[in-house]
Symmetry: C3
Subunit: 142 residues, 3 copies
């Protein structure tokens, strides 16, 4: 039996304010670099005002519709919220994170993440201003 | 010390339009077949218009209430959405996926997924028409 | 090459009705006790009326704002719901669980969960009454 291997690395993404950036290619490079052919790839975002989401990677309108949906559900400046320390987009950013994902685990096969045809991994910045966002990738497998 | 083992397999589920189908038994069969007694079972859905959810497995009304809730939150034909390429249920299906889960990880003990008494794993189809949905199961452990 | 190790344990948390309790310290103790220095920590909640969430750990108003948001989105006694077997907070508790998380996976480095500065792991009780909630922690790594 082959022994399981483990790989872990971190990288930073600079966002330019609210919006989503695809990180699939960076993840695939880490998986390739890990030398692991079959296993799992775990992705973790070290923040509470941005998300990691798996979404449709073909029509950019999907991602603008996601923004519109969230703006309706938890609008900036919503009088419901008491936590406004960093401005009107502070608590809505936490709500968006809560309702989506901070970590994803993806299957690895043939040395890369086996995503569906229309699946891309996106870092979704929820704050109005750009931030440096830290991501940790961990790959386990054979 | 015992060496960790890794098992991975894919299977397909045919859905018959919007609604949820329990897949717990299929997962338990894969875990049993893996020969792994204690560890983790990861389940991944290769699509962006359907979800994997852990929910109450006793009263079917829970799952019809989930549908009603989502219909109110992101109705088909919602004028908010620009992405309507595949019809009025296209973008609402992506929103439902975004707000729920594409991957789940479950603890394995005594050779099966150690779910709570009322927890079942469901594939939730969000499109009006039936689809073939691919799921990958990965089991890691001893 | 170092062999991968696996650790698994369960613990119980008594909640005192709706609200969130931080469990980060308990997780860190399990990771320390596992003797694993680098890897992944998986946390699983065996229930469908409570959640595990990663959220801002500094200002308690974040967590009261989360409650207010959920109360607006899926109010207790919402006439939309048919599943009211255990009272007006029964189905809203399932909806809150569905929209948040039942399992989280966190990176482990230097013998502890490598969370961001503002990230804490919370058990979020969604029922009005207190419950005993079972959590299973699994740590994999070197």
């Amino acid at each position: 039996m082959q022994s399981l291997k483990f790989y872990q690395a971190s990288f930073e993404v600079r966002t330019r304010g609210r919006g989503s950036l695809q990180v699939t290619d960076t993840l695939q490079q880490h998986v390739a670099g890990s030398g692991i052919s079959q296993g799992l790839c775990h992705v973790f975002l070290h923040h509470t005002s941005a998300s990691l989401v798996l979404c449709e990677n073909a029509d950019p309108a999907v991602r603008t519709d996601m923004e519109r949906f969230m703006l309706r559900l938890a609008p900036d400046g919503d009088p419901l919220f008491e936590h406004v320390a960093e401005g009107p987009d502070d608590m809505p950013a936490h709500i968006r994170t809560l309702l989506t994902h901070t970590d994803l685990t993806l299957p690895v096969g043939n040395g890369h993440c086996s995503l569906g045809t229309w699946q891309g991994v996106y870092l979704w910045e929820h704050r109005q201003q750009g931030h440096r966002r830290q991501i940790t990738v961990s790959v386990t497998g054979v």
